[in-house]
């Protein structure tokens, strides 16, 4: 339904987005995962027809979306990364304003506004100016305004950034409901892998402007199917231990994580015994060991050697 072909954006010197190919099928929920500066927002600006690409194109139902931008804009809702609202006005006033801009009028407008306020749980506070809202409430109204015209495609740029877990769950549940029950197609951008893992059928992983991996959660994790992750907790961090670990022939990668190390190694190698041996040699006291199933975070780590929030 909506796809990009070799989408590229170059700002003066930086190539923010490089030859990106992604697609969305109707009713799908797709994640775009990447660290800060990966090029997620730039990609979204181009998909939502606000930013002309340097090269490549965005296609909607097989047509050039930029040439026929009105067709896409009508059925699309875009939640920007920023709180894109009039902070001096109340939630109700903002809703009525944007509703009217979308061509809603009279009774229909009023019903939509009330419905959405209900959905985002802000009916009680609708008369208050946005600048008196909490971060979580601002995020909710930021999404709410986008839902007024009942979009078929919902594109969201880090809609939960910087808020408490409770508000975040509220928002995630809401999006899931919209996707499952109203069959709204969702493109969800985030640098929280848990969110994407929970919410999305398919995921694109982006780094330095490029898509470095894509597929369903399971497909992506199967990249790591031949590998396992060993989480080693130690009493005190020891660089010497880390060093010897990473020099070990069958260890792929060692990263420090919390009070310990995360080791990625091929499956089947009986590494554990050797880990304890190495600990002994470097006089490191191990307080716990766990073998984990991989997460998307591990996939990203595997692909780039960095964690998502480095």
């Amino acid at each position: 339904m909506l796809e990009t072909k070799d989408l590229t954006k170059v700002f003066k010197k930086t190539t923010a987005v490089n030859q990106v190919n992604i697609y969305l099928e109707k009713g799908e929920s797709v994640g775009l995962l990447g660290p800060n500066g990966a090029g997620k927002s730039t990609t979204i600006s181009m998909i939502s027809t606000l930013l002309p690409p340097t090269s490549g194109e965005v296609r909607f139902n097989g047509e050039d979306a930029l040439k026929h931008s009105q067709r896409l804009r009508k059925v699309m809702g875009v939640v920007p990364q920023e709180i894109a609202l009039y902070e001096e006005l109340s939630a109700y006033e903002n809703m009525r304003f944007f509703g009217k801009v979308y061509g809603l009028r009279g009774k229909e407008l009023e019903t939509r506004v009330q419905d959405v306020l209900e959905l985002i749980g802000l009916t009680d506070r609708k008369k208050d100016a946005i600048n008196t809202y909490s971060g979580g409430m601002k995020r909710r109204i930021n999404i709410g305004v986008t839902l007024l015209h009942e979009p078929e495609i919902l594109i969201m740029d880090e809609p939960t950034v910087g808020i408490d877990p409770q508000s975040r769950n509220y928002i995630l549940d809401m999006i899931r409901t919209l996707n499952r029950e109203k069959d709204i197609t969702v493109l969800y951008t985030s640098h929280y892998m848990e969110e994407v893992e929970k919410l999305c059928d398919r995921v694109y992983i982006m780094d330095h402007g490029e898509i470095i991996a894509s597929g369903t959660n399971e497909e992506l994790k199967s990249i790591l199917s031949n590998e396992e992750t060993i989480q080693i907790h130690v009493h005190t961090l020891s660089p010497a231990f880390r060093d010897t670990l990473s020099k070990h022939g069958s260890v792929r990668k060692v990263t420090e994580e919390g009070q310990g190390y995360k080791v990625i190694a091929p499956k089947g190698e009986d590494l554990l015994g050797e880990v304890f041996e190495l600990a002994k040699q470097t006089k490191t006291k191990i307080t716990g060991v766990a073998i984990q199933t991989p997460t998307l975070e591990d996939v990203f780590l595997h692909l780039t050697g960095r964690t998502l929030r480095d």
Binding site: V78, E88, E93, V101, G103
Partner: protein
């Protein structure tokens, strides 16, 4: 489009700072300037009186002595000397400054303290104890007398030093001194200094060759003059106020949201033109109306005058609207709000001066008046003043056409500059 305009007005009406700048400030200035120059007394008004210092570097008696000996040296016969000195005793310009500043009308706005020396006053200014210092230098009285009684050319300068050049108190002080200079037919130079350093860029030579007489038929009252002057000046402030909001819309991605909703870029730009025009028109209406209600500024004028006044005001509102749209284009194009702050901070003040918002510019020179008429506010002020003196609308039409021409040029430029591709 209608929604966009309604939203602009709503947001502006919620902003205390904008309302203060666009309505309260000009109104207060009309009140102050009108009072300082007229003889109305107003008791309802309440702003905190600010302290200023007056420094006489020489007493009147010393001046008289000096002048007497100067006259004698020049060989004026002793009878003449006596007569001139007697005349001079009646008019002591330095004391007139005290008299002016101690008058009831002025005392409502400022309290005056005498300082014995310029240094002491300067120190108090630096400490922030006072808002301004007026220095009457040695030789000032003598120079004024020579000008008055001997019709000699000469320079006699009063010095005004202030804490903050851009403050309202400075505007008030400046206008009070200008009035004073006007009374005396003086050539006065008012030097303005910030934090003790003379700011030469702000130094003005103001010559008052003649007492302004704007009209033969209908004299224009100070309230009328300043209602128009402040209206013209503060109407210009509406443009950057709105354009700054447009920049904020872009920065906070509300603009992107509007574009996704299918709003056309040019509709958006058009909404800024209409908002700017409408809000300015309402602003002028409120200022003129309030000024008439409270000070009786335009009381007694016929309906026809009000219609003409509205037409001129509308033409002027249009030009402010087009400035709004130009500033919007520039800030969206350059992705910065500098243009609006520059316009609001510097251009408006400059235009206000050459347009004659503070004092009639024809006093300085005819060419300045001509130049002033090329500023939108100056052209408007001249039109208003002419209307008040009984000119007909057709007689002021050339100026109105000029203003509409400016509107057209500004609009075309803003459309050309408006970024039509990058919308996020």
């Amino acid at each position: 489009m209608f929604e966009l305009i309604k939203k602009d007005s709503l947001i502006l009406s919620r902003s205390r700072s904008d309302l203060t700048e666009l309505l309260f400030m000009p109104f207060i200035l009309i009140a102050i300037l009108g009072l300082a120059l007229g003889n109305l007394t107003m008791t309802e008004f309440n702003i905190n009186a600010f302290p200023v210092a007056v420094v006489h570097e020489q007493t009147t008696a010393e001046s008289l002595n000096n002048w007497e000996s100067e006259l004698e040296e020049r060989g004026v016969p002793s009878e003449g000397v006596r007569a001139l000195v007697a005349q001079a005793e009646d008019v002591a310009p330095g004391e007139q400054v005290d008299y002016l500043f101690n008058s009831e009308e002025i005392q409502e706005w400022m309290t005056v303290e005498e300082y014995s020396s310029a240094e002491a006053a300067q120190a108090a200014l630096d400490d922030g104890d006072i808002s301004g210092v007026i220095i009457i230098p040695e030789g000032f009285n003598e120079a004024v007398w020579s000008a008055l009684f001997l019709e000699e050319e000469g320079t006699h300068a009063l010095t005004l030093e202030v804490q903050n050049v851009e403050s309202v108190t400075t505007d008030i002080l400046r206008s009070v001194l200008t009035t004073y200079a006007n009374q005396f037919n003086l050539e006065a130079s008012i030097a303005i200094a910030t934090e003790g350093e003379a700011d030469t860029a702000n130094q003005q030579e103001e010559s008052y060759g003649e007492v302004t007489n704007l009209t033969a038929a209908d004299p224009i009252t100070s309230f009328q003059y300043y209602t128009i002057g402040m209206g013209a000046m503060f109407a210009l402030h509406t443009a950057p106020a709105l354009a700054s909001r447009a920049f904020l819309e872009k920065k906070q991605h509300v603009f992107g949201r509007l574009m996704i909703s299918g709003t056309k870029p040019l509709t958006y730009l058009g909404s800024k033109l209409v908002s700017g025009t409408l809000i300015t028109f309402i602003q002028l209406g409120i200022l003129f109306g309030l000024s008439t209600l409270i000070f009786g500024t335009f009381r007694g004028y016929a309906l026809n005058f009000w219609i003409d006044l509205s037409i001129v005001s509308f033409a002027f509102s249009l030009v402010v609207g087009s400035i709004t749209s130009l500033l919007t284009s520039i800030s969206l194009y350059s992705d910065s709000n500098t243009s609006s702050s520059f316009f609001g901070g510097i251009i408006v003040t400059l235009f206000a001066f050459i347009g004659g918002s503070f004092t009639p510019v024809e006093q300085f020179s005819e060419s300045l008046r001509a130049l002033g008429n090329w500023t939108p506010n100056g052209a408007m002020m001249t039109s208003y003043l002419q209307l008040m003196q009984g000119f007909s609308l057709t007689e002021v039409a050339p100026l109105i056409i000029r203003v509409i021409g400016m509107t057209a040029v500004l609009l075309v430029t803003s459309v050309v500059l408006f970024p039509k591709r990058r919308l996020d």
